[in-house]
Symmetry: C2
Subunit: 620 residues, 2 copies
Amino acid sequence: MPKGFVGKVLRVDLTEGTTWVEEPPESWYRTYLGGSAVVAYYLLKELPENCDPLGPDNRLIFATGPFTGTPLAGSGRNNVGAKSPLNGGFGDAQGGGFWMAELKKAGFDHIVIQGRAESPVYLWIKDGEVAIRDAGQLWGKETKEVEDRIREELGDERIRVTQCGVAGENLVRYACVINDLTHFPGRTGMGAVMGSKNLRAVAVRGTQNVEIDDMDTVRELARRMSQEVNDGTRAASLKEHGTAGGVMGLDAGGGLPTRNFQFGDFEGAEKISGPTMTDTILVDRETCHACPIFCKRVVKTDAYGGVDPIYGGPEYETIGSIGSNCGIDDLGAISKGNEICNKLGLDTISAGMVVSFAMECFERGVLSKDDLDGLELNFGNGEAMVALLEKIARREGVGDLLAEGAARAARAIGPQALELALTIKGQEIPMHEPRYKHGLGIGYAVSPTGADHCHNIHDTVYENSADAVNVFGVIDPLPIDDLSGEKVRVFYYESNWKHMLNSAVSCQFVPWTKREYVDGMRALTGWDTSVHELMKAGERTATLARAFNMTCGFDDRDDELNDRFFTAFSRGPLEGKVIDRGTFNKARVTYYHMMGWDDLGRPTSSRLDELGIDWVADLL
Amino acid sequence: MPKGFVGKVLRVDLTEGTTWVEEPPESWYRTYLGGSAVVAYYLLKELPENCDPLGPDNRLIFATGPFTGTPLAGSGRNNVGAKSPLNGGFGDAQGGGFWMAELKKAGFDHIVIQGRAESPVYLWIKDGEVAIRDAGQLWGKETKEVEDRIREELGDERIRVTQCGVAGENLVRYACVINDLTHFPGRTGMGAVMGSKNLRAVAVRGTQNVEIDDMDTVRELARRMSQEVNDGTRAASLKEHGTAGGVMGLDAGGGLPTRNFQFGDFEGAEKISGPTMTDTILVDRETCHACPIFCKRVVKTDAYGGVDPIYGGPEYETIGSIGSNCGIDDLGAISKGNEICNKLGLDTISAGMVVSFAMECFERGVLSKDDLDGLELNFGNGEAMVALLEKIARREGVGDLLAEGAARAARAIGPQALELALTIKGQEIPMHEPRYKHGLGIGYAVSPTGADHCHNIHDTVYENSADAVNVFGVIDPLPIDDLSGEKVRVFYYESNWKHMLNSAVSCQFVPWTKREYVDGMRALTGWDTSVHELMKAGERTATLARAFNMTCGFDDRDDELNDRFFTAFSRGPLEGKVIDRGTFNKARVTYYHMMGWDDLGRPTSSRLDELGIDWVADLL
């Protein structure tokens, strides 16, 4: 049994009502690590051609990695993957919490679920024992009630629950998965896949410890991070203000998505910033398994009839998506919108972008008040935003159309709506402006999940982290609007590192140096590994995901940015700024080549050989 | 000033009689490290188009690296580079000894020499002071006399001398450079370039220590290696029998080059093996700077009028090239031939291969006794071999033709000789049989210096070194006659690592693990480096060398193996064995692609970007 892993994969067939266990060899664990790579592995190996993402043949994969559940900060993460009902290709979402640590203690690294239960069920896993249980009484309920009922029914308050929400039940294409009520593998519609399988939740409880090769080193690494977080040496802003700490800086630079990405600066920025939240509605800070940073917010307000702190508080992505991006400067409205998404199971990024899409449609006369069930959907209308989110989650009225995502909704609405739907490969763009950070734009375009920030760069990597540069050698600092081959090199390195983090599986926010990370991986597994091997692991993940997308019909023409980003800002700090299309096209091909892909973005057999996944060639 | 380096490059113009000093920034040192990469850098940057290798425009570069001269075993190495008079492209040779450690103490990392002195000179460098001195009295002398006279003239017995020999003076195209009398940067004719510049020697003496970032770690690494070599844990065979320890194993496997590579087994193998040498003519063991292994042989015999132990003893390459490869089973003859090459300055590999070429020409009637100045040049004739080596070094009689190397000599002799000249890119093949080790065959073909073993793999890397596999991840053991994509992957990794070793600069025989090597590099330089950065450094070196060859007119058609290796052995353990040409061609292109080169072996701009050497694109 490989150290750092359980060594077991739980297989579930919901159609047959059967479960079984696979025990892959250590070489499999070392090649794929876990997380995103394991998702891609099973999708490539097992999905039939033209598999319906919402049909029984799709695989729903809950995947951990060697870091998961260890004492190392950032190890409270897991992936949920499947063929995505939102983008039609690689679906893969990362979230935090405590559920995944409990899963490993309960005896499994990963769960691979196929089929569809006849009626609602949930999975119950305790110390290697697995049961498929009736969830009829949970269907249609808010997430808190589902968690409470499961714990009550099974008689153990320490049970950890991951679930889809009402939005997932309703097959909203950007429904999220919810870990421990306040942590969300949010993107690519994994909640809808859960719903399509009639699987409302997976409850876990475990008491078995995973064997670690060198626990002394692991504890020493954990102790150092903890100490330096506590004394403010590392992650100080993240601890103090959460992920929203950077709102004012983005606004000042012209990179704060505003009114459906029409602008990069927002007059109400300060009112929705991290420090304002800290000073007003913040009542507590929360965290994930083993993490001393406590970046998670807990807010309480009487606005909108009251916002329940049990559902946490808005992240930066949420403050952007249903705040500035919808022209809303009211933390009360944002907190209420966040609570709705959390308790009903909507990805706040896609949900906010769908609302802002509808708002721009309304302001431009593409959608009327009648089309919108009587909502006056102007930018800035918090009440309308809150109402619309609930309609979407429940597929009520216009919510039924918007539950399909911006891309599908725009096609249904008509040609005038198309350019207002800011999606890439069908997924809505997160709260980072490519005209501000040009490298990030390449990242959006080539991301296997469509627009995504979880395996992207933020361009300022040089200034923030000498480590990132040093372990790779000499790389000169570059401006954030640069798209030279040197910038692509940084993107190539950093995005592969992040694909590795999503496979290992750990949080991107915890500021481990790459050297510490390798030390941690060695101590967990006993492998004599290196930055080189881990970088190749990330490249392997990205290439497997790329290959899966190719089997779904994607090609280089899907690696696009929206026209809006090639159009200049009409105001603000970046007035007149665009991404040059020729430079963008060249940078994209440069990235292909660095990845060992051909001019059209197809992985070459040579790179598949180098990555030890030559079996993929037969699928392409 | 970067730690681990002096921070100074000595420039010399022998035409003008001037010297000056360059002080490159630390980023330059970190990008290129030293050794082979620095050679390629200056050749690419400074050589005019169609530069005559033996003309004044050529640059002769003595290059060290961060490892050179430190307490770490293997640090007693340096490179000598130039455009090669043998292969017409990238000339680069590595050798050991003590001279290079003294050079750094004398105040320089590298020496770059251009021009041509009007009359013979030598360079004298002492603690940063440089003089160009008359060498008229040294010209035509054997190497021992030259070293003695210089020390006497300058009044310091501790002076270290590197020099060309009489062969270099005579522009023998495979003349070597001689460090400290018994260590040889042997390949690609660097001695001839020295001779062409009327530069007989470079004498150095230094008392300045190079600053090291973390000497405690360096000393601890050195102590551990020393202890494990002494207790037999590491490098035991190398210590006991030198590099010739493997002769019997090669013979048993059918991979001992015999009679100009006609066969892979030799009936006289045991008589010339390392253990036999140990038991008979060995009188001492010698070593290089800071190395506890003592792999260098010192032999003494009365055969052939006596062999002087001052010139050391034969390495495996020499025992192969003028032994089995010439059908000679007499250690006396081999030792005498070795002494002649050493004191006159011939690369024993090329020299032995030129002799075996002439022997096969003679046996096949392509050259007659008359053509050979009356020598009965049958395989196995030790006396004729010894006589011919002296003729070559002095360009006497048929030696004048053979001094041009096998490829040029064959073209002069006629069509029947062509297939008997076993050279790749004009350089004679070293003593490793590609039909035995198939990965090595790819290495010969794509090597920038032509056939070479100094940046190649030996195929058995899996069995010998778990470390080599582990830091790169999961790689299954492969048979030595495999040429799959997986084997190319290993070659890609291992050859780049060796290109890095030739740049860092250190010995390939010292069994540092890759992890120890990175620890050493960090401790020497203070850089937060990684296996990833060092692998990219090696890839950068190989790519720079490739680019230089392209500017010299080489293309993919030069990445060839001789027909002989696609022809089956007629006897021995590998009877019937060949390399399959289709498989070989495919593997070669797979290597190109892994290197980021196109189908025709041309580096892509994307890989140049990734390696931080985009300036090279303008030269291609």
